[in-house]
Symmetry: C2
Subunit: 192 residues, 2 copies
């Protein structure tokens, strides 16, 4: 099937698959809309009609890999639900296949306001909203401290993961996520 | 006093002051060892003998601004001690004067392993060691949960700040630090 014959969704999917494939081959710095267009067999304007920059395209391509769209499960065990969603997110973005691309994207967000805005609009804000909603439900069910500062949930839960990803740059493992969740739920204060 | 007449410490200080001044004028991307050398009136080899890259030089220059070398106070109130040190750190690195330079430095650490190594060796690891020592003492004094996972202290305390600095890129205020400390000490779990 030639590019011209592919319909909208199939074309979008083909462009995103090509982006991930070429991103892994070339690295973020050398990745370009032109190269993606050539490999996917489409005109670059076809890509620019959908995405304003390679950062936005890469972000959508990475997120398209999640079957659950990184939604939280909702069972009786809120810690288990958080754990399951966070495992999925780090396997996707901080695993060996895509970690370098995701790190480079966040690196670019430090000097390109367009990439920073895309990162927040397409990924961080929707995830933060889902996290607050999941924890608000847990509060309503009496499974979370009624005093917990919901607006901080995303920063508290994912901050220590970004610290490991971007600052110490050590492996981001399920065991590390478990330790973070244990520490956050237990709290640092001494109990009477 | 000409550059040639300045002794070691005065020369080091002059180079670091020039780095900060020029960094603020030009931004990180355009800052170069050559430009710093020219402005400071020294040969660039004089700089390269002390620092291997502009990232390392900038980091040392930023840290030289802290009179306390970001040590923790040690009073009977561990939360107040943490708060005081964290306020100082964010005022320095995330205030209006130097935040863009520090953000750019962390951005560069995402694709330059030398900058990432310098960031960890010169700043993160020493700070993490101080944080663990301060919290270990608090544990010994019975002022912190005996179960708290000390090795996570730096990630838990500073992760939410880096999240704000690098991801949402919103202002990093004392009020935000207070909320993070409150939430970390209280914990997310519902108490019996």
């Amino acid at each position: 099937m030639t590019a011209a014959r592919r319909n909208g969704p199939a074309l979008t999917r083909a462009i995103m698959e090509t982006t991930l494939e070429l991103g892994q081959e070339l690295g973020y710095a050398k990745l370009s809309i032109e190269a993606i267009a050539a490999r996917a067999g489409v005109g670059k304007h076809t890509i620019y009609r959908r995405w304003s920059s390679k950062g936005t395209l890469l972000l959508d391509s990475l997120l398209s890999l999640s079957e659950s769209t990184l939604d939280y499960p909702h069972t009786e065990d809120v810690v288990a639900d958080l754990r399951r969603q966070i495992y999925e997110a780090i396997d996707l973005l901080a695993g060996p296949s895509f970690r370098p691309l995701f790190q480079a994207l966040v690196g670019e967000a430090q000097h390109d306001p367009g990439v920073a805005a895309a990162l927040n609009e397409r990924f961080i804000t929707p995830q933060a909203d889902k996290t607050v909603a999941r924890l608000r439900a847990a509060q309503a069910e009496g499974r979370l401290s009624p005093d917990f500062d919901l607006d901080l949930s995303m920063a508290l839960l994912s901050g220590p993961l970004y610290f490991q990803l971007l600052i110490t740059q050590e492996p981001l493992t399920h065991a590390y996520v478990d330790r973070v969740l244990d520490a956050l739920f237990a709290g640092m204060a001494k109990r009477a």
